[in-house]
Amino acid sequence: MSGEPLIRWDWLFAHLGPIAERVGQHLYLAAIAVSVGFAISFALAALSIRRRKLYPFVTVLATAAYTIPSFAMFAALVAITGLSVFTAEIPLVLYTIVLFVPNIVAGFDSVPWDVLDAADGMGYTPGQRWWRVELPLAVPLVVAGLRLASVSTIGLVTVSAILGDSFGGLGYYILDGYKRHFTTEILVGGLLSIGLAVIADLGFVLLQRLLTPWAARRTVGG
């Protein structure tokens, strides 16, 4: 600890290849979780919008899943799905649902009733109304959900390192650095993971700007 620098750059430069691989794995695990979570959540949200009475149950279940500590969930799943990719993905997917569903539901709820009335009155068929009016207008809140879920998932991927060397993405370095009392590894894993989350978030902000040039923003006069 005494003579040791905070970051050993020589170690870092010697491991650029493996670090890049871990970054790739990290993104891969997160992307799967966010995509699958989004698909499931979209279905649940659609159901909740149609059958409003189901919405509280969906919310309660999603929140309940979210309360289970990730560490415990990974550990418990090993008994069921072994050391497969499912063991890593199931908790990650479950955690996204509580972030996605309320945002998607709010997105469709946010479509003004007068716009829907006008759409019906103009002669949109129900399908046309959904694709051309409701979905585009729900985009801002849906993307807000994507931002939350991706940031949260990118952080959580690190915990899956407890499943072994073939999981965890950058979490591998955090765990390994902890075991070996090697600060450089912990910092590399932690900071890069934060960096990925920030980049993903900015990416979605950019996507939102591209998809919703119509949204009033403070920078544009009304």
Partner: protein, 367 residues
């Protein structure tokens, strides 16, 4: 029979008549399933000839919106029929029907994610016009409602003022040249000055378009101004009176209608009648110079106001060429109202429309 008069007014003013006639025949709407459910609209029957503006007016909750939405089947009637040129709307394909009917609502309901141009072209897009034709049509309509296409077509609705939004709403409803327009409190959300301008412009447009229009408002003054025919509705969705504005004002059919049109209905009638409708006295040789002058289209309301302000017992009426043609007195105006018949020119709605455009200038010139 009053409907016929208004029909003439409508046909006379517009050359194209793509308009359809509209008839409510014993239309009833009860929300909910129980037989005892209070009716929102009760046994409504009225006929609107092609090319006329029919205003549904009445207090909030009397079933105006419900009546209007049954025409494009956003609401289905419990009983009765609504006929367009004699064809029951219930027998038509609902999507097709709606695309043939213009629809303007108070909250406008512009699509926030579409540019102004694409908002206007929504129905042409739905019915499959080519892109070029959509764009050309959108530009044409923006000009028609007084918005410069170059400056407006690429804006988003959030970049418009309330009045501009209403104009776009009207342009959108006109896009596919529908023979019938449904307008539910279209100008209620803007301030009075903008509202008045929009009303005037719309009436001017309608003179050329000659659409059949069902127009909903809770404002009796707007009803008098816009309507060739006025249907006064009362609580429970009953039709209290149906007729041209002047008849409603001159002969309210019930206490309810009298209260609803207001104690000043006599003064309101003054807005419907113009100098041209007066029986003029000859100009006395002894008439002093410098009397106020009135163009034929000046409303009696404005003429009276000028006479009272000038503390003058009389003024000079001018003919179309601007030559003096008669003498207008406060007494003559008063007796025109007292006459127990319709004003001389019985042009019902036509009177209102011409009055709306000619007067601003005339009154201004005179004062």
């Amino acid at each position: 029979m009053m409907a016929d008069e208004a029909g003439r007014a409508g046909h006379g003013s517009g050359s194209r008549t793509g308009a359809v006639s509209l008839e409510f025949r014993g239309v009833t709407k009860r929300y909910g399933h129980s037989a005892q459910a209070r009716g929102a609209v009760n046994d409504l029957s009225l006929e609107v000839p092609a090319g006329a503006i029919c205003v549904l007016v009445g207090p909030s909750g009397c079933g105006k919106t419900t009546s209007l939405k049954m025409v494009n089947r956003l609401i289905e009637p419990t009983a009765g029929q609504i006929l367009l040129d004699g064809v029951n709307v219930l027998t038509e394909d609902v999507t097709e029907l709606r695309r043939r009917i213009g629809y303007v609502i108070q909250h406008v309901g512009l699509f926030p994610h579409l540019t102004v141009g694409r908002n206007v072209a929504v129905v042409p897009a739905l019915v499959g016009w080519s892109k070029e034709r959509q764009l050309a049509r959108a530009d044409e309509l923006l000009s028609l409602v007084g918005l410069d296409p170059a400056g407006y077509r690429s804006r988003y609705p959030f970049q418009l003022s309330g009045g501009e939004r209403q104009r776009v709403g009207v342009a959108r409803a006109l896009a596919a040249d529908p023979p019938l327009m449904l307008m539910d409190e279209p100008f209620a959300a803007v301030d009075p000055i903008v509202r008045e301008r929009l009303q005037d412009e719309f009436l001017r447009l309608q003179r050329d378009l000659a659409k059949t229009i069902l127009f909903v408002t809770h404002d009796i003054d707007e009803a008098i101004k816009m309507g060739d025919l006025i249907a006064v509705m009362e609580e429970g969705g009953r039709l209290a009176q149906f007729g041209p504005p002047d008849e409603i004002l001159a002969h309210p059919a019930s206490d309810f209608v009298a209260r609803f049109v207001g104690a000043d209905r006599g003064l309101k009638r003054l807005s419907l009648v113009t100098i041209a409708d007066l029986e003029l006295a000859p100009i006395a040789a002894s008439a002093p110079p410098g009397l106020p002058t009135f163009s034929p289209s000046t409303k009696l309301r404005d003429a009276l106001s000028v006479l009272l302000a000038a503390d003058s017992r009389g003024g000079v009426a001018l003919d179309e060429e601007g030559q003096p043609c008669g003498f207008v007195t406060v007494d003559a105006i008063a007796s025109a109202l007292a006459e127990d018949r319709q004003p001389a020119a019985t042009r019902s709605g036509g009177v209102t429309r011409q009055g709306a455009t000619g007067v601003g200038a005339a009154a201004g010139d005179d004062s």
